[in-house]
Amino acid sequence: MRTAVPEFPEARLRELADRYAAAVAAKRRRVWLGSAVLIAATIAAGWMGDVNLWSFAENFWRLPAYFASIAPKFSFSTAWVDLSEWLWGLPRWTRLLGDTLLIAYMGTLTGAMCGFVLCFLASANLVRSRTTVFVTRRVLEFCRTVPEIVFALIFVLAFGLGPLPGVLAIAIHTTGALGKQFAEVVENIDSKPIEGIAASGGSWLQIVRFGAVPQVLSNFVSYALLRFEINVRGAAVMGFVGAGGIGQDLIEAVRKFYYTDVSAILLLIVVTVMLIDFITERARHRLLGLEGSAA
């Protein structure tokens, strides 16, 4: 097939070329302006944040040196003895890791329950009263914006040292985070089942129970699992402020320069986090698959 390419007159061509050049120049100006703003902000932030590249370059060797010093001593002839020496605290650390996982679990479950209750009050498609929606949303926002470790710091003073403040801090943060995500899911549901139940005289609770919950449950569980994964990381550092779990031992090991303990605990934390990531990802894929087949 032959197509004739239209030949523009010279004046029209020049006009188009000029317009193209202007567009390119405008884009280039925008990029330059953006870069200038970025560089200015970087310099300001560097000044504010006490960035000292010179001392950084002077001290940088300490990073590999630090990792070299926390690395366990291994030699081939005594590998087994070295390993058991490195992991000498394994029974204690495993128990503490178990505690950390339990803290994350209990916090996530409690938070998910509270989020589950609150999300329906925060959904504009289920609740008439704008005040209720507004207030619930602000409460959820407060819960998730204040970092959980700040809640933990305050709760340690109120409830005493131990896992309880950690669980509560994670629960509150989870309520805020999941409540918001849940509410977004609820606002996107199909409105026909709800209208059906309302039309046949169902109460508000019945509307929620039979109209909304069946549509959103698998999505909720998927979000809760993702949150559990995040909370395991959070629970690992709760011990920094005395709120239970493995973090306590880690911060002590770092502060007292028990070098090989640092690497052993870090390794255990990383392995646990990866394992949990792996398992919850599997579970979430299955859940999302279920949702696809149901639809």
Partner: protein, 284 residues
């Protein structure tokens, strides 16, 4: 028209027995799941030694703290200035940390993307190291950097860089793998080498997505940057932890308010920027 009265119910049940027969298998699975979850929760209460009287005592004490927090008050003007300076540090930590993490993660994410580097060993090793870096919480990174460069916001910046490096590396490489491969093939078919195809075929496609992710993480890093001061890495968290330790509750609530306002301001600004630069794109 049929009415759904009770006389009719028997007939309906008879005509559609499958719908009305309880599915014991399904119910059993749900019961086992719920029962297991509750049992684990109870086990946790026992294992973590959570007595109920401590819960109620604590609630009472917490109520007392909240009363002491009201109204929020910063103390003197000198202290307000100190807090504002700390706030500036926090925003700087978040900004430089996000920027540095993104700049470092860009080349590495190319290595971790299957459609750029075909070598499976490189791909695998890069992915696993990114996972390891991400598995270490930002507070732990802050702790390590405080040991290396000393107390102060610089340690915080480095901690955010490290933790973001792991996150961005993964997110970027996923965005790159999801990119359309036709432009890259086009560049190669017209004589470009592999680097050309990455530069002109791939990066222009994914750049807006990456930018959107970076802006999104700037918000979330502002939250993280507010707390890494707790282990001595600068910013407003340091002030907050100190005031909590000395039980200056009015200052604590003032600082919390300050943090809330900053985080929502950054949320707002970066949201605006995101829409202005790239329009409304989904994250990840």
């Amino acid at each position: 028209m049929n009415s759904f009265s009770f006389e009719n119910q028997a007939g309906i049940v008879e005509r559609h027995p499958d719908i009305f027969r309880p599915d014991w298998w399904h119910r059993g699975k749900i019961a086992i799941g719920v029962g297991g979850a509750v049992a684990l929760f109870l086990f946790g209460i026992v294992q973590l030694e959570i007595p109920f009287h401590r819960l109620s005592d604590g609630m009472v004490r917490l109520g007392g703290f909240v009363q002491l927090m009201l109204p929020p008050h910063p103390g003197s003007w000198a202290e307000v200035l100190k807090y504002l300076h700390a706030l500036g540090e926090t925003v700087s930590i978040a900004f430089l940390g996000t920027l540095g993490g993104a700049l470092l993660a860009l080349p590495v994410s190319l290595l971790a993307a299957r459609n750029v580097v075909a070598n499976r060993i490189v791909h695998f090793l890069t992915r696993r190291s990114l996972d390891t870096i991400r598995g270490v919480d930002i507070l732990i990174w802050a702790l390590i950097w405080v040991g290396i460069v000393g107390l102060g916001p610089f340690a915080g910046i480095l901690a955010v860089i490290c933790s973001d490096f792991g996150t961005f590396g993964k997110l970027f490489s996923e965005a790159i793998e999801a990119a359309d491969k036709n432009p890259a093939e086009g560049v190669q078919s017209s004589g470009g080498n592999h680097l050309h195809s990455v530069r002109f075929g791939l990066l222009p496609q994914v750049f807006p997505i990456l930018l959107s992710q970076v802006l999104y993480y700037f918000e979330s890093n502002t939250r993280s940057a507010t707390i890494i001061g707790i282990v001595g890495a600068g910013g407003i968290g340091l002030q907050l932890a100190e005031q909590i330790r000395v039980l200056e509750w009015q200052k604590v609530s003032f600082l919390i308010l300050l943090i809330l306002m900053t985080v929502s301001a950054i949320d707002w600004i970066s949201g605006k920027l995101r829409f202005a630069i790239i329009g409304q794109r989904p994250i990840a």
